[in-house]
Symmetry: C2
Subunit: 307 residues, 2 copies
């Protein structure tokens, strides 16, 4: 029996009623992963904790003040009855207003440390040392679940797909989702193009972060490793993480109006914008089987900033 007793659920795969260039559009709705309020961070963290040989006493992780990853870790630790320390950067919202991830993070007994970005590593180290001196078994989850096990969660996720798509598109952030999907597709010997739409980073920073996980996964799975296989499109970031303009919001509204599926301008709405741009510019053959992976994170809406 592995460490965590967190039930594994699949997410629904449904047809998306979006007609662009006759593509058959399907959507993998990780936003609906049923527990811990959904999203790809649920998939990653339950895999990470389930892969441990025994459950630690304490987990420590980091993220932004409104982090989806932090919310999932805090709720998961609560369920498992273990302690959670969160090292959060960015502004602490001091208002009484109850909202978003903040409310649910603070609803758990996770201990929260707000720090500047340059103090994250040092703070994690200090908490770790202190816990270990108390004889506690500590496990540090990298921010965003950016780890080999986080990526392996998406190798497993590819097995949930009903058929081989021609393209998988998704919001590409810190890299574990991207590395895992790509390795998962290669492992199945599929010809699927795995295309990450960057939601924040430029390729110069984004690709090495993906390859840091993809390269060892290739070695492990006996897959030929080629950095060129990492397709990471940087032209749809709208200036950076959680930034948006009126055109993006207008787009998000249009696709929700057409589909009844909630999209946000931070992750999946931004990435889908990129996908439709590519499709409209005919860079993708008509009648392709397109799968869009909705990675959730809708509770992080309020960190969006107009540009």
């Amino acid at each position: 029996m592995k460490g965590a007793k967190v039930r594994m659920f699949e997410s629904p795969e449904v047809t998306l009623n979006l007609s662009i260039k006759n593509c058959k559009f399907k959507i993998k709705r990780d936003d609906l992963l049923p527990d811990f309020m959904g999203g790809n961070k649920v998939r990653k963290n339950r895999f990470i904790l389930s892969s441990l040989t025994s459950l630690p006493d304490v987990i420590i992780t980091n993220g932004g003040a409104e982090s989806n990853h932090a919310r999932v870790c805090a709720l998961m630790a609560a369920r498992l009855g273990i302690k959670c320390h969160l090292v959060l950067h960015g502004e602490k919202d001091e208002s009484d207003y109850l909202h978003g991830n903040k409310f649910f993070i603070e609803s758990t007994n996770a201990e929260i440390n707000y720090v500047n970005s340059d103090e994250i590593a040092r703070t994690i180290e200090a908490i770790k040392r202190k816990c270990e001196l108390q004889g506690l078994d500590v496990f540090v989850i990298p921010g965003g679940g950016h780890s080999l096990d986080g990526a392996r969660a998406f190798i497993a996720a590819v097995d949930e797909l009903e058929e081989e798509p021609d393209y998988i598109f998704f919001p590409s952030g810190t890299g574990a989702t991207h590395a895992g999907l790509l390795a998962g597709v290669k492992k199945k010997n599929w010809k699927t193009q795995v295309v990450g739409i960057s939601i924040a980073r430029q390729a110069e920073r984004g690709i090495p972060a993906i390859d840091e996980l993809y390269a060892p996964l290739c070695a492990e799975l006996n897959i030929q490793h080629r950095v060129e296989d990492i397709i990471f499109l940087e032209q749809f970031t709208f200036g950076g993480y959680a930034k948006y303009n009126a055109e993006l919001i207008e787009f998000v509204r249009r696709v929700t109006s057409q589909t009844g599926v909630p999209f946000d301008p931070v992750y999946s709405g931004k990435a889908l914008y990129g996908v439709t741009q590519l499709l409209e510019k005919a860079k993708i053959p008509a009648s392709s089987k397109v799968l869009f992976w909705h990675t959730g994170g809708l509770l992080n809406l309020q960190s969006s900033k107009a540009i």
Copy 2:
């Protein structure tokens, strides 16, 4: 084939790790109903629309400015490709801040009319008349899904339960959930006590609203109708809809910390507070099988008001 092509999903039933007086606590997580962002309004509205002999061209409904019901109707109409008019009361948030139900309601092409409470009925009537003059088939969904079909959704929901509980507790609001659960239990000849914890109304107003639906359901199902069977506890409202105090927030945090399940102070957290009070005061026999019905609506957090 009935009107709506909205897939029916069940919600998970899980054990809640809350130990109070040795009760075996289970929770029915309608917050995780996988589509339209979950909650009991999904269950009601998909039942309401599926019960129509043909899909209307237009639905009209009403609710508060941050209404979960309005969000579900707007997304569902978008999925079905039909027009949705929302008549919303309460303050329109004019900030640029992207959050909660408002963002997702506005993400659809629902037409929104903000009005004062005393103008709701007249506004609905005017929209209806205008649409009908255009030759459109119009269906008005009562606010909150408060209708016989809304209640029937919960008669069907009782069939999803794994076993007969001794008690079903749940947040009781406008009445359809309550009427449906009670009728569902009676239909199965269960001895289950169906106990609604009022999240807003006093019994004087709450019970007649439930009975307005319960009485005709009893006639339809050939169940003996007794108003006394409606158990609606008014002592845990914290002063009214969405109102809370520090003790309630503290409680919500404690249960989330113990269970990893998100609760809010508007609906399920408030109701669960009432349940634990009852259990702690030993008004419920130890070792009872208790089912708590989590009705979702977590995106409405931001209308909460401290008292």
